[in-house]
């Protein structure tokens, strides 16, 4: 009996154990890993990824998938950066744009994400195109639109630089100084995670999301407007990608049309490793956070102890497969 309980505990919490073992293994190799600087760096690296992954989780829990997230991040980064350059920078995207309040381009970028999310939702819910295909299409389209925008004269596809300090401060600034400081973007990510937790657990939209992913017919019979809920969910996901794009531009102090490339796969990988089921109906905010942290720990920790980056890729891939192979055992139907 005790063995059974241990087994069930292990399979329920496998993801957190993996995270723990990884940190322990790295720390044993190099004890300097246990430092506040390292912890902050890992959190800093995770911040925007958490926001993207939470957006992806919304869609995955409805039994959908979103391939367009990375390109939305890229487009939002380019839009916000193009409007927030310092006045005397040599090659400005909009040479005559005055100093506008910080929040206008940020809000605009988030709204663009929301709009593309709505389009995704509309294609999926109203035209019944499978989410994989719908978002594959919009992924390519958004990259196209972003590249046209990026190649407008006078910019002509030059990387956008010279961002305003009040903007970059958002990405690199922190509360407090030195060792005991907390970067703004980490705070933003924590706030987003808290809000998403409330949406998942305390709102009608969240419960409907789980119901739609868990058994769409039960949802319909219970009088839930499935297509409207899907529309909202894809739109919220889009807005989160928009926010993440803004923060990426602020953090790196620039943007190109290739920003966000392949982020969609990182986001989906973090979700599934964190226990979100691609079959729908299952997933928690805590799981997604753990999933993102695992990949950040791998990235940062393995570099820290000097593992060859190509080997890191192999380890990452193996973790995705093994985590899901374990996870799926919980749900495999017997006959």
């Amino acid at each position: 009996m005790d063995l059974k309980r241990l087994k069930s505990f292990l399979s329920q919490n496998a993801i957190y154990l993996v995270l723990f073992v990884l940190i322990a293994a790295i720390a044993i190799t190099d004890s300097r890993f246990f430092s506040i600087v390292c912890l902050r760096d890992i959190l800093l690296q995770s911040a925007t990824r958490v926001i993207i992954a939470l957006g992806a989780a919304f869609v995955l829990i409805t039994a959908g998938t979103d391939l367009s997230s990375g390109r939305m991040v890229g487009f939002a980064a380019v839009i916000s950066a193009s409007m927030l350059q310092i006045p005397d920078y040599a090659c400005r995207f909009f040479p005559n744009l005055p100093q506008i309040p910080l929040w206008i381009p940020i809000l605009l970028s988030i709204l663009v994400g929301l709009l593309f999310g709505l389009i995704n939702g509309c294609i999926v819910a109203r035209f019944s195109v499978p989410p994989f295909i719908a978002t594959l299409g919009t992924m390519v389209i958004i990259y196209g639109i972003n590249s046209i925008y990026f190649s407008l004269p006078p910019n002509n596809s030059q990387p956008i630089g010279g961002l305003r300090p009040d903007f970059t401060n958002l990405g690199s600034g922190a509360i407090g100084t030195g060792e005991y400081s907390l970067p703004y973007i980490v705070l933003i990510a924590i706030a987003v995670a808290a809000i998403v937790w409330v949406v998942f657990n305390k709102t009608q939209l969240g419960k409907n999301m789980y119901a739609i992913g868990g058994n769409v017919n039960a949802a319909k019979v219970s009088g839930i407007n499935v297509s409207r809920n899907l529309l909202y969910i894809y739109a919220i996901a889009g807005a989160l990608y928009g926010l993440a794009g803004v923060l990426e531009a602020a953090r790196t102090g620039g943007a190109t049309n290739n920003y966000g490339n392949m982020y969609e796969l990182d986001a989906i990988a973090a979700c599934v490793v964190g226990g979100v089921s691609t079959a729908g109906g299952i997933g928690t905010v805590a799981g997604v956070l753990a999933g993102v942290l695992i990949f950040s720990v791998i990235n940062y920790g393995l570099t820290f102890i000097g593992v060859n980056p190509y080997w890191q890729l192999i380890i990452k891939g193996l973790i995705i497969i093994i985590a899901v192979a374990f996870d799926i055992r919980k749900y495999l139907a017997k006959r």
């Binding site: 709102t203 419960k207 409907n208 789980y210 119901a211 868990g214 058994n215 019979v221 009088g223 839930i224």
Partner: protein
């Protein structure tokens, strides 16, 4: 106020080639349990689907409290206070009880400008409801981890919370233990006290006589009559369910059963609720019918013979050789063939041609050097075998989905005959096939038996079992309840065996 809570008058529903309902009446009084009875295929489910707006009746009217209503979908039905507890329940498995109960109408509370879900109210309302119904359920249990009986209780509570006036229960006791049935009956009595009308569909005679006030019997899509349960006995019900003239015709059979080819000893499934301790023999050139009600585990048994389901204990002998069949690949090697019940789900490849569908189980025979397939031979074999079975198709390149059900079934016969089987397992071989094509399928089965093939045929149609089988084995709740001689058996005998172990 009308005497009846629900009246369905003169409901007629026709499907291509079948009159599923022919002027059927159902009149249910408030605060009573009304049993709806009939053999498989008598039209009970179709009638209930008309009540729920899943099907639109061609003729007839529905009245609630004397008011005429039109029900277009299940949401309408819920709004009129009609709920259904399905045989296969459909909750959201990963979420908890209270979320399933209030799905689509969660209680909300204001939190500044936002509406958040009022977990506390939801919990209390659920608790209260369970208490008033004396159900032992915990609102926060994850539904997927609960027993069928608890999920069922939850669904009943959900129906009550919708203020249901009419609750339909389709085979509610099919997967319950005796104690659970007792508890269900307590709940049903509580429903009666509240003035709810319960439409109760079941095959279990004693249960029906115990719980119901009135019984309506249907046969072949027709309304036979409604009686007070107190006037009925098991024998009377069976006689009224069966009493039909045999209009179906069967081909003459000249097969001669020979030596035993298959012997099954004490076969038990790994799952408690499935088949247990089944032993039987099959002889060469014999047609062995398998009778029983839905849920008797007949499909599970023959799928286990074909290696599709796991076996806990027992032995299978083919020609006196002990064999272990762990997968369909081994089964085919042992010269077994299986025509599944759900032709569309596990039989045809709808988007492939008749030719591809015919040779698919046999591709290894056509491999030429370099792993290429011998196109010419494939076409020849497909063409000759579908000609032999008289499949009506424009060409062998027609997509199989464009053929009628009967012709699709013949293609499946052709597919399996190409593997040159000795034993054919047929699961409801004429389901969904119109009457004319049925005769052709029967002729094929009779001809195969004459050639010395051995056949196990599951059928829920009584005349078909009696008309086609040399012997009939009858199952009930996973156990073998008897074997009868097909030439002298009667429908009454089979129904009695099919309900033998039921409480």
């Amino acid at each position: 106020m009308s005497e009846f809570l629900l009246e369905m008058r003169q409901i007629t529903k026709e499907f291509p080639g079948v009159k599923a309902l022919d002027q059927v009446d159902l009149k249910v009084r408030p605060g009573t349990v009304h049993a709806l009875m009939g053999e498989n295929g008598a039209g009970k489910s179709t009638l209930m689907k008309c009540l729920f707006g899943i099907y639109k009746p061609d003729e007839g009217e529905i009245y609630l409290n004397g008011q005429k209503v039109v029900i277009n979908n299940s949401k309408d039905a819920l709004q009129y206070g009609i709920s259904m507890i399905h045989q296969e329940l459909h909750p959201v498995p990963h979420r908890n009880v209270m979320e399933n109960m209030w799905l689509g109408r969660f209680p909300l509370k204001k939190f500044g400008p936002f509406s958040l879900i009022d977990d506390q109210k939801m919990y209390q309302d659920t608790q209260q409801l369970f208490q008033s119904l004396q159900m032992d359920l915990e609102p926060k249990t994850i539904v997927g981890s609960m027993s069928v009986s608890k999920v069922q209780a939850m669904e009943i509570a959900k129906a009550v919370s919708y203020n249901a006036k009419v609750i339909v229960m389709d085979e509610p006791t099919s997967s319950l233990t005796e104690n659970e049935v007792e508890h269900l009956f307590q709940i049903i009595n509580e429903m009666k006290r509240r003035g709810v009308a319960v439409i109760y569909i079941s095959h279990k005679m004693e249960e029906i006589l115990q719980i119901s006030d009135e019984v309506t019997i249907m046969r072949d899509g027709k309304y036979i009559g409604t009686w007070a349960a107190s006037e009925l006995t098991t024998d009377l019900i069976i006689a009224r369910m069966v009493g039909r003239d045999l209009t179906n015709r069967y081909p003459e059979r000249t097969n001669q059963p020979g030596k035993t080819v298959l012997r099954v000893e004490h076969l038990s499934s790994s799952f408690e609720k499935s088949f247990q301790d089944v032993s039987f023999e099959l002889r060469q050139g014999e047609i062995l019918g398998v009778g029983g009600l839905v849920g008797a585990q007949r499909t599970e048994l023959i799928e286990a013979l074909f290696g599709l389901r796991s076996i806990a204990s027992g032995n299978i002998y083919l020609n006196d050789q002990l064999v272990k069949i762990k997968s369909p690949v081994t089964a085919i090697k042992h010269k077994l063939a299986l025509l599944t019940e759900e032709r569309r789900v596990t039989g045809v490849f709808p988007m492939l041609s008749v030719m591809e569908n015919t040779v698919i189980a046999n591709l290894y025979r056509y491999i030429k050097p370099y792993k290429l397939l011998d196109e010419k031979k494939r076409k020849e074999d497909a063409a000759s075998s579908i000609a032999r079975l008289r499949v009506k198709t424009p060409s062998i390149n027609t997509l199989i989905k464009d053929l009628s059900g009967g012709n699709q079934q013949k293609v499946l016969f052709a597919r399996w005959l190409l593997t040159e089987p000795e034993i054919l397992l047929l699961d409801e071989p004429t389901r969904g096939i119109d009457v004319g094509a049925k005769f052709e399928i029967y002729s094929i089965i009779a001809e195969l038996a004459k050639q010395g093939k051995s056949i196990i045929m599951i059928s829920s149609e009584m005349p078909e079992l009696l008309g086609m089988s040399d012997r009939i084995m009858v199952m009930c709740e996973g156990r073998l309840s008897g074997v009868v001689d097909g030439r002298v058996a009667t429908q009454e005998e089979i129904i009695r065996l099919a309900t033998r172990f039921m409480s």
